[in-house]
């Protein structure tokens, strides 16, 4: 039995992963902004077999609330063995290009709030000398592309932050897992036309579940994105700048 904190627990990928953890009889603490959905998900995870499920409302960009939200979770669970940070929003690139206030909000949601939460959590994990920190970044953070570089900037920042954190916490036997999903068919991407590159939230959840259990450092989900991103990052800048990716 593990004590698991999930931040952004109403996101489709987080919920699908939580179902796998619930089925194994773990203790769960859910943080998300929508209380109605949190309550329903908590009830669902309880029926699915979670030993206990707690939940509380947290808005990712309410930085002042981060410390107390995590302390309350630590109190209720009497410790945290695993944390999954899954919140995020898919930025409207075009709108961000003309509205810096919007770009800033997207950067806060997708990067700064994650760094704030991890700053608090890292110290806790470093002191307890065990556990797993799993964070959902994105393939979009591997290389800036004109179609979504605000989102990519934020995810890139998260990926690099996690690399540093992983190196630091390795000395305390804490594993840091960076999850880089490709295209996932979720409510966040409902306006996109789907093709063969698209994966379900359940398959990504399964990858996260297995990666947490086996102590992996970084995963692409599905795995073929590793090859795709290797190719994309290998394109010389001279050619890349003429493309429309």
């Amino acid at each position: 039995m593990k004590r698991i904190l999930i931040i952004g627990a109403t996101s489709a990928i987080a919920e699908a992963t939580a179902r796998l953890w619930a089925h194994d009889g773990n203790q769960l603490y859910l943080l998300a902004r929508n209380e109605e959905r949190l309550n329903v998900i908590a009830a669902d995870l309880t029926v699915r077999g979670a030993q206990s499920v707690y939940s509380a409302v947290l808005k990712a960009n309410d930085f002042a609330r981060h410390q107390s939200a995590i302390e309350e979770a630590l109190m209720a669970l009497e410790g945290i063995d695993l944390v999954l940070i899954a919140h995020g929003s898919l930025s409207n690139q075009k709108a961000c290009e003309t509205d810096f206030a919007l770009a800033l909000e997207e950067l806060n949601t997708n990067a700064i709030s994650v760094i704030s939460l991890l700053t608090i959590l890292a110290n806790h994990f470093e002191a307890q000398k065990h556990g797993t920190i799993a964070v959902i970044s994105s393939v979009a953070g591997d290389r800036g592309r004109q179609s979504n570089y605000i989102y990519g900037t934020a995810k890139g920042a998260v990926s690099i932050f996690l690399q540093g954190l992983r190196q630091r916490l390795a000395k305390s036997s804490v594993n840091v897992l960076t999850v880089k999903p490709g295209f996932v068919d979720t409510p966040m991407t409902k306006n996109f036309k789907k093709g063969i590159l698209w994966a379900s939230d359940r398959s990504v959840a399964k990858s996260i579940y297995l990666a947490c259990a086996s102590g992996r450092e970084e995963i692409y989900a599905p795995q073929f994105w590793k090859a795709i991103m290797w190719t994309i990052t290998a394109i010389p800048e001279k050619i890349f700048k003429r493309l429309y990716l």
Binding site: N34, V40, I41, A43, D44, V47, R48, P187
Partner: protein, 433 residues
Amino acid sequence: MEMHGWGRFPRINSEVTQPRSISECADIIATLGELIPRGLGRSYGDSSLASRMLDTQHLDHFLNFDQIHGLLTCSAGVSLDSILRLFVPRGWFLPVTPGTRFITIGGAIASDVHGKNHHIDGSFSKHVSSIELLLGNGNIATASAAENTDLFRATCGGMGLTGLIISATLALKPIRSSEIIETTIKMPDLDSVLTAFEENASATYSVAWIDCRERGKHLGRSILMLGEHAETGPLTAERKSAWPVPFEMPAGLLNSSTVKAFNTLYYAKTAPGKHTHRTPFEPFFYPLDKLANWNRLYGKPGFVQYQFVLPKKTCISGLRKILETIATSGRGSPLAVLKVLGQGNQNLLSFPIEGYTLALDFKAEPAVFILLDELDKLVLAHGGRLYLTKDARMSEATFKTSYPLWPEFESIRERHHAIGKFSSIQSKRLGLQ
């Protein structure tokens, strides 16, 4: 986007919304205009089609489970498959299940589905202790056999036309093993299979696969399958996924010679006489779920499933006439499913009445629609009716003659603010408001 039912006929362009909470559902119902709720889209025809559809796939949450009485409360979008995967290992089974596990609770109630145990356990709604509905005026109502009885009787079997089912409580059935003791009996003709159904009325599950291509002395040759839950054995639900049919097959694949060959082989591979064996529950209840998207076998035009019921006293002559008409036409699917139904219930549009029901597929093509109109006349002449969940083409007159309680259904819809809020292209075709 282009949408269709399981039969892939008809197809229409729809605006599909996928709300993630009840408040989002309420907003959609308040602002979007007339719509139809949709679960997994397994009704065959146009029951879940409308120019605006509310897809419940994200409302897939278990809400409560009372392990003493087996009472499960869940959101409308929960599938029978997810219930089985979670609860079979804990020793619980669905009280009633149709031939696929890929339907939602909302859909099971809206169609008031029946299973192989209808003659003993009735239809799905009999095991539903209460339903929560989001009405057209934005209010949430609880309906059960005791509370808002009119709404309950109209909603069970009501094809999603009374309001949006948001959650329901149903009584699961305790089992000791997930295995089924199955007995198969080969029957040479129609009389013998009907007699066998009567003789095996105490079997928990019974169904027959009937060869619709045979005429004369072989008319109605079938394989009767009976089942009981095993008393001992494992409690497991299969995790393997189904084989895909990745694209539409050529429309000519299922033609009269391939179908006839399939039937002959299928009948021949079953040894004569009576055989009993143990089987996991999945192949017993859901043989076609093994093949994901089997509906693509009919190719581009799609297909219609024709399911009717005839009351007990007219069924022998009626079935004979209908089977002869089908066999003469040379159309119809490899296998038809024949099933005895027990007493009907008080729901206004539920399909089952005491008698026999037959279901078979036809490719959607002009000659078939003419044949089906002929069959409709025979069904009506024998006091029978068609299952709305399978229907894509019955006329308003056929519906209104065979579902005489429709005016009461309409007045209940009016009372509960459903008119102008919930409709499908089927309900419009059938002359409902």
